[in-house]
């Protein structure tokens, strides 16, 4: 067992863990936050997406023990004091979910995406002139989150709503 201290959704946790435990299983099983989902456990679906130190990652492919001192945000940490995050409300309004299983990951990805675009991080569809919040950019950047129900178009629309671009 290895000691680990990290902050999840603003709460500091000091735990002893099996070094084999993934960050996803740490959050779900050790800490009991069931929002993040295990859709594939191989980094191929994105349902487990969390934001670690400001960057979204597949928590299933990351050993918890490597996250000493890190700051982690899960879907539970997006809303503050009972108020839904604007993206959460937009997902409801635009029906950007069906079964809801991929939704926690989609939301963490979307929240990180908004920051990435603000930061100017390029994607493969970004041209030389720089990043713009186009549908194509959103689609490419959300392609790491599979949705078998096919809520993709509504997800793009929801993200657009929040980014302030209603085009």
């Amino acid at each position: 067992m290895y000691p680990l201290m990290l902050t999840v959704n603003g709460t500091v946790h000091d735990v002893e863990i099996d070094p084999r435990r993934s960050l996803l299983d740490l959050v779900r099983e050790t800490l009991g936050l069931k929002g993040p989902k295990k859709g594939c456990d191989h980094g191929q679906c994105g349902a487990c997406t969390m934001i670690v130190n400001g960057r979204r990652i597949n928590s299933c492919l990351s050993l918890a023990v490597t996250h000493e001192g890190d700051t982690v945000i899960t879907v539970e940490g997006l809303s503050e004091a009972g108020e839904l995050h604007p993206l959460q409300q937009a997902f409801i309004d635009k029906d950007a979910l069906q079964c809801g299983f991929c939704t926690p990951g989609q939301l963490c990805s979307a929240a990180a995406l908004v920051d990435e675009i603000r930061e100017g991080l390029p994607s493969v569809v970004t041209g030389e002139v720089g990043v713009a919040m186009t549908n194509e950019e959103i689609r490419e950047r959300m392609s790491g989150n599979l949705c078998r129900c096919g809520a993709y178009n509504n997800i793009v629309e929801a993200i657009r709503t929040v980014s302030g671009d209603k085009r």
């Binding site: 099996d18 084999r20 435990r21 299983d25 779900r28 099983e29 009991g32 936050l33 069931k34 929002g35 993040p36 989902k37 295990k38 859709g39 594939c40 456990d41 191989h42 191929q44 679906c45 349902a47 899960t74 879907v75 539970e76 997006l78 839904l84 959460q88 409300q89 997902f91 409801i92 309004d93 029906d95 979910l97 069906q98 079964c99 809801g100 299983f101 991929c102 939704t103 926690p104 939301l107 549908n135 194509e136 959103i138 689609r139 490419e140 959300m142 392609s143 790491g144 989150n145 599979l146 949705c147 078998r148 129900c149 096919g150 809520a151 993709y152 178009n153 509504n154 997800i155 793009v156």
Partner: protein, 735 residues
């Protein structure tokens, strides 16, 4: 703003379970926690099959850290024989696992390792040594055509085969003849939530939290497998993370969890890994479909023959019916359809979203496109020309058919202007093509019951064992109750997914909303009459009344509900009986799909640029969730046409594409802006709500519209699905 209660059904109301789902509060089966903790089970798969286990060494696994128990056929608690009782359906029969030393198919569980943590269980599972003495197996129906049999039944249809009219004569006398065969690949439903079950025993009672589409049949399956009373099985499934057919029945992890919980004396969770699912979850079989079509010089269909050959998992009777749409889409002088199956030593073959139509329209609608081209008739016109006046095979009247409305609306909205010469339209280095196809899917109604209880504070609780697998059940049932009882939706609480609630047929076959909705409608109507009687008794005679905040508003008066129904409240039960609806009628949902694709002129890569669907599904219960479901279906269609295929290595009978890097479902960027148009409608014969199934309709026709567009883009007819770049590469026009 005060919500109007007069018309709520159909309104694009937000999902009532939306807040729970966007905050991570919605509890899926795998999220369930049990006081005292849950042990974790990990499946050990058979590395080869069919055959016999000749060595099974679990000593190292048992000795590993944290291991609680290792279940094998030698140690497993008693079960009833797999597949018994024989006269029951496949969902309710015994699903015994670890039954004996026989291994039916590749990846079947040979052991379950239960440990305190998942890490421990998974590692210990790798220490189990198993040796299988294999026998010759049947893995691919195409290699064993001589073993093809007519199945006892096919999914969703009354007849396995049909032979209407004199096919040979009509075909031989046809001016234009098309003879083609298609291969469609095996597919896995790939719901985002893998199959998972948390089981525990409370004395004689088994309590199960599981991912399931139909609660009641899962109760029967447990009872029949474990030899216990149905009354001693409690299933709880408030949220299911997608089904698409794969969670209609119970699967190995469900039974293993119950057995392990019994063995270990504590709660056990067994989650199939994504890899497990490709052997321990159900799949759509690959099919060989042969079509012979004949038309006269003007493009009138004379002869249609559609035959299908596929694998059926040995001892698991399910046969998909790809010729289903062929029987109902167009008029022809002769229509013959056949389904043949080869029993194979492969994982369960079962329903996957739109069984029959998903792959049946894929082939039939591309063949029709090809025939229309041979006849020199525009594909839109061809379909209008062959519109039937009654069901072409049964001869029944249509319950409600507005296919031509869909086609004409679609053609106008898409801007269909006829076909261009294949390979002639370019945008940069992309070959651009357009195509269209028709969507059709049988509409059915299943028995369902519901109960409602109105409390004195004005809140209504509705209960059914129905599930919400992402379809929006919670929301549409809320709308039905609120409108029927003229009360605000916010005061309706729908509770689902519990075997203690009244029985429904669950979610599947696009019958869920109509069936459970009709039962709830009936319950609410009964509650309304009862309330009306109470009103009359209290001296207020009113034809219409509304409820709000614990008061009844009638004739301009406000009456406290508590005075009418007392502290105990008022309850009512409702039901729907399919025998009373659409009797002797051909009942289908319809649609049309138009697609525009681009094909890279150098590489053959195919991308969808536009996809537009127009659908008629009777009365729409919620325009927002209906649109979402249709879009999801269309995206499934993109997958079926271009991406999805579970590839089996036929030397071993094992699927090799066992993860999402290999089994490609569409990602966000694969999907263009989809256009969905829904015709207003009311199918009065279908059910008391006037609604029709919508969950599978969106897939139907999407794939062939894309394939037909690929043909126009390239001039290449590909007769296997999914269509990949290599199918086009050496046949692309030189541009």
């Amino acid at each position: 703003m005060e919500q109007s209660t007069s018309k709520i059904i159909g309104e694009p109301m937000n999902r009532v379970d939306g807040p729970a789902k966007v905050t991570g509060r919605a509890e899926y089966a795998g999220d369930h926690q049990v006081e005292g903790g849950i042990a974790e089970g990990f499946i050990v798969e058979a590395p080869a099959a069919p055959g016999k286990i000749v060595a099974l060494d679990v000593a190292d696994a048992e000795a590993a850290d944290g291991v609680v128990s290792v279940l094998t056929y030698k140690t497993v608690p008693q079960q009833k024989p797999y597949g018994s009782p024989e006269d029951e359906g496949r969902f309710t029969q015994s699903h015994a696992v670890l039954e004996n030393d026989r291994v039916r198919h590749f990846g079947e569980p040979v052991a379950l390792v239960v440990a305190e943590t998942l890490e421990q269980a998974r590692y210990a599972a790798s220490l189990v040594r198993v040796e299988i003495e294999t026998e010759e197996g049947v893995f691919n129906a195409l290699d064993h055509k001589d073993q093809a049999e007519k199945p006892d039944s096919v999914d969703g249809l009354d007849e396995v085969d049909t032979q209407d009219g004199d096919f040979e004569t009509q075909f031989s006398q046809s001016t234009h003849k098309l003879e083609v065969s298609y291969l469609t690949g095996a597919q896995h439903a790939s719901a985002m939530e893998p199959h998972v079950t948390v089981a525990q025993w409370d004395g004689e009672t088994l309590i199960v939290h599981m991912a399931i589409q139909i609660v009641a049949s899962a109760v029967s399956a447990y009872a029949n497998t474990l030899g216990i009373d149905e009354a001693n099985v409690r299933i709880i499934s408030p949220f299911t993370g997608g089904g698409f057919g794969s969670k209609l029945g119970v699967h190995n992890e469900a039974i293993l969890a119950a057995l392990a919980a019994k063995q270990c004396g504590k709660a056990v969770r067994v989650a199939q890994t994504r890899r497990n699912l490709f052997a321990n979850g159900p799949h759509r079989s690959r099919h060989l479909q042969e079509l012979k079509l004949g038309a006269d010089a003007s493009g009138k269909l004379r002869a249609v023959r559609h035959s299908s050959l596929a694998s059926m998992a040995r001892n698991y009777p399910f046969a998909e019916a790809p010729a289903s749409p062929t029987r109902a889409s167009y008029a022809a002088d002769a229509i013959h359809t056949f389904h043949r199956m080869v029993k194979a030593d492969i994982p369960k073959v079962d329903s996957m979203r739109a069984p029959g139509e998903a792959i049946g329209t894929l082939t039939y609608e591309t063949a029709i496109d090809e025939l229309a081209e041979m006849c020199g008739v525009d594909p839109v016109e061809f379909r209008i020309l062959n519109e039937p006046t009654q069901d072409p095979t049964s001869g029944h009247a249509f319950a409600d058919r507005r296919l031509l409305d869909c086609i004409r609306t679609g053609a106008a909205k898409f801007g269909w202007s006829g076909r261009v010469k294949p390979g002639s339209r370019m945008a940069g280095r992309k070959l651009v093509g357009r195509g269209m196809a028709v969507a059709i899917r049988p509409n059915t109604l299943s028995p369902a019951q519901a109960e409602v209880k109105l409390a004195a504070d004005g809140r209504l609780v509705a209960r059914l064992d129905m599930t919400d697998i992402g379809t929006g059940t919670y929301t549409i049932l809320t709308q039905i109750a609120a409108e029927t009882l003229s009360m605000p939706a916010s005061q309706v609480l729908v509770q689902l997914g519990d075997s203690r609630f009244p029985e429904t047929a669950g979610s599947g076959g696009s019958f869920g909303a109509s069936s459970s909705g009709s039962a709830l409608l009936d319950a609410c109507a009964k509650l309304k009459s009862a309330l009306s009687e109470r009103l009359t008794e209290s001296g207020v005679s009113a034809n219409a009344f509304a409820m709000k905040d614990g008061r009844v508003l009638a004739n301009g008066k406000r009456i406290e509900l508590a005075d009418l129904i007392g502290a105990e409240g008022l309850s009512a039960d409702g039901a729907v009986d399919p025998d009373n609806h659409a009797k002797g009628q051909a009942d289908y949902s319809y649609g049309v799909q138009f697609a525009e694709v681009e094909v890279d002129a150098d590489t053959g890569e195919i991308r969808v640029r536009r996809l537009l669907g127009v659908f008629d599904a009777g009365r729409i219960l919620n325009r927002k969730t209906a649109r979402s479901q249709l879009m999801g279906g269309m995206i499934f269609g993109i997958g079926g046409a271009l991406l999805e295929e579970s590839l089996m290595d036929d030397r071993f009978g094992s699927f090799m594409t066992r993860d999402f890097a290999e089994y490609h479902i569409a990602v966000n960027r694969d999907v263009p802006d989809l256009e969905v148009h829904i015709l207003d409608g009311y199918s009065e014969h279908s059910n008391p709500l006037g609604s029709k199934g919508i969950g599978e309709l969106g897939i139907c026709g999407a794939g062939p519209a894309i394939a037909n567009a690929v043909h126009e883009a390239t001039g290449v007819r590909v007769r296997k699905f999914p269509v990949h770049m290599e199918d086009l590469l050496d046949r692309l026009p030189a541009v």
